[in-house]
């Protein structure tokens, strides 16, 4: 279980990190020395937030069940949801217990119990902000989420129940 005290910190920016801030895709690296000691024991980010996504639990059927009546299959006439890609891996009924972000453009992560850190989709401001709001609410309320993670490693879709 990740505690508030384990929030990752940045170590002094290296050259590489400055490049990251300038717009490269290199992720930022939390301070392994100051935060990692605690984080490692609690599955918090050590090298970088995505480091601990090794325990992948695929539950496609469960996700599909959650989606019944949801936006991608809304039955009412009128608005048709924009579904984007739907080829990723679904995780159903999981709990978000920590969040992480850094002073870089659209770089925020959520920590999922028994799964680890996953990055929030960073393709645009609007989608990034909405998905991050859902992740934050999930973390605050402890309510279950169902999410889709694409091959780019990022969370592209979230249901908050």
């Amino acid at each position: 279980m990740v505690q508030k005290a384990s929030t990752p910190r940045m170590k002094p920016p290296s050259v590489a990190q400055e490049a990251s801030l300038a717009g490269t895709s290199a992720p930022s690296i939390p301070d392994a020395a100051s935060a990692g000691a605690t984080a490692a024991a609690q599955a918090a980010p050590t090298a970088q937030p995505p480091g601990a996504t090794t325990t992948t639990v695929t539950d496609g059927d469960g996700a599909a069940a959650q989606r019944v009546g949801g936006p991608p299959v809304a039955r009412a006439a009128g608005v048709t949801p924009a579904t984007g890609s739907a080829t990723g891996t679904w995780q159903s009924g999981v709990t978000v217990d920590a969040l992480w972000s850094i002073n870089q453009i659209r770089n925020a992560w959520m920590h999922v119990v028994n799964i680890g850190w996953v990055k929030i989709f960073n393709g645009s401001d609007g989608a990034f902000t909405a998905l991050n709001t859902l992740a934050s609410q999930a973390r605050q309320t402890g309510r279950p989420v169902t999410y889709r993670q694409e091959s780019d490693g990022m969370v592209h879709e979230i249901y908050l129940w």
Binding site: A76, A77, S85, G123, G126, A127, W161
Partner: protein
């Protein structure tokens, strides 16, 4: 057509007994009326030069045709009843048209209400639409009144082009009257997305009912129908009284019948509903119309937010309301949509009510109380 002498109810009972009682006789809200009062409620003008004998002869063929059009072959279940879809009742309450030939307004409004609930999966959504606006505004503009009646086609044209407001903006009372609808009606509205003629196509009728919840149909009413108290109706005795429009809410291929909601109050039939055998009274052959969806423009009743959703597409956030189901947030601009999401997320976290203004499937405004 001239009003027939009232049917002798003893004769009806005897006729039912002779024919092994295909349906049950009852003293209903209609049997208490005079024959003149009864026929006023039959608000669909019969075709000119109607050959009653021919109608009777065609009933057998129509029944065979409807039985042959198996619902399963149209991708529909063998039987469907909107009052009990996996234990859920999507119908709205039975109404009473009173002394006015406004059955078309009730038959079509019933379809709009049922389709609104069923296609959204929201059986408790309050959707009581104004038969008064349909009949005394849109009907009157087309020349209809309590004495002439109307037809479902032009009524559904009005539902598509103008929409119908809710009953609180123009409550129904029987009797010719002016169109005194609340001036705000364009902001408190249900519209049909389109309508389709299903006449003489029983397979499509079954498919439409099971997919969208209801359709409207007209049929010939014989005098014995006024005393219907349950079972599967077939014409047994009595003369032709007039034409009538109702809402079909189900069918049963095993029993060979349609299930319908009438507009003669709950004191008639089975709580206002009836079953009629396939092929009877030209039920499949006269102004059968389906509506494949509706849109709403109104403040919804206060409700809880049970779910939120978004994905990688910008400005694509949806909220699941306890009464309404999924609705997209229309923030116009990304920051406004984000503000809506924040407000709904807070309400969800707190478990408090929100007020949503729905406009064609999207939330235009909201209150988080």
């Amino acid at each position: 057509m001239p009003v027939q002498p009232a049917l002798d109810l003893a004769e009806l009972r005897s006729a039912l007994t002779e024919k092994a009682a295909p349906w049950r006789f009852a003293y209903t809200s209609m049997t208490a009326l005079t024959e003149e009062e009864r026929v006023v409620r039959l608000g669909v003008a019969l075709p000119e030069n109607l050959d009653e004998e021919q109608v009777s002869l065609q009933a057998e063929a129509a029944e065979a045709s409807a039985r042959a059009a198996r619902a399963e072959n149209a991708g529909a279940p063998v039987a469907f009843d909107l009052r009990n879809v996996s234990g859920v009742n999507y119908t709205t309450p039975v109404e009473d048209q009173g002394q006015c030939g406004s059955c078309v307004a009730f038959g079509t409004i019933g379809v709009l209400e049922h389709v609104t609930r069923y296609t959204r999966g929201t059986p408790s959504l309050p959707v009581d639409l104004s038969e008064a606006q349909m009949f005394y505004c849109w009907g009157a503009a087309a020349g209809a009144n309590c004495n002439t009646g109307w037809m479902p086609g032009p009524a559904l044209d009005a539902a598509v082009n103008n929409g119908v407001t809710f009953a609180d903006y123009f409550p129904y009372t029987a009797g010719n009257q002016a169109c005194t609808v609340n001036a705000d009606w364009p902001n408190h509205l249900c519209k049909a997305v389109s309508w389709q003629n299903l006449t003489n196509n029983p397979a499509a009728m079954k498919q439409y009912i099971s997919q969208y919840g209801s359709i409207t149909a007209c049929f010939y009413v014989y005098q014995d129908f006024f005393s219907y108290g349950g079972g599967i109706y077939r014409h047994v005795t009595g003369g032709l009284a007039g034409g009538h429009c109702v809402t079909l809410v189900g069918y049963d291929d095993n029993q060979g019948c349609w299930i319908a909601k009438n507009s003669w109050g709950t004191g008639w039939g089975v709580g206002g509903f009836f079953e009629i055998a396939y092929g009877q009274c030209n039920i499949e052959g006269w102004a059968v119309c389906g509506v494949p969806g509706t849109t709403l423009r109104t403040w919804l009743p206060n409700q809880l937010i049970l779910g939120l959703w978004s994905n990688e597409v910008d400005d694509n956030v949806w909220a699941y309301g306890s009464l309404r189901g999924w609705l997209k947030l229309d923030g116009v601009a990304t920051p406004t949509g984000q503000a809506m999401l924040d407000e709904l997320a807070a309400a969800k976290a707190k478990g408090t009510m929100v007020g949503l203004y729905e406009n064609a499937g999207e939330v235009d405004q909201l209150y988080a109380w």
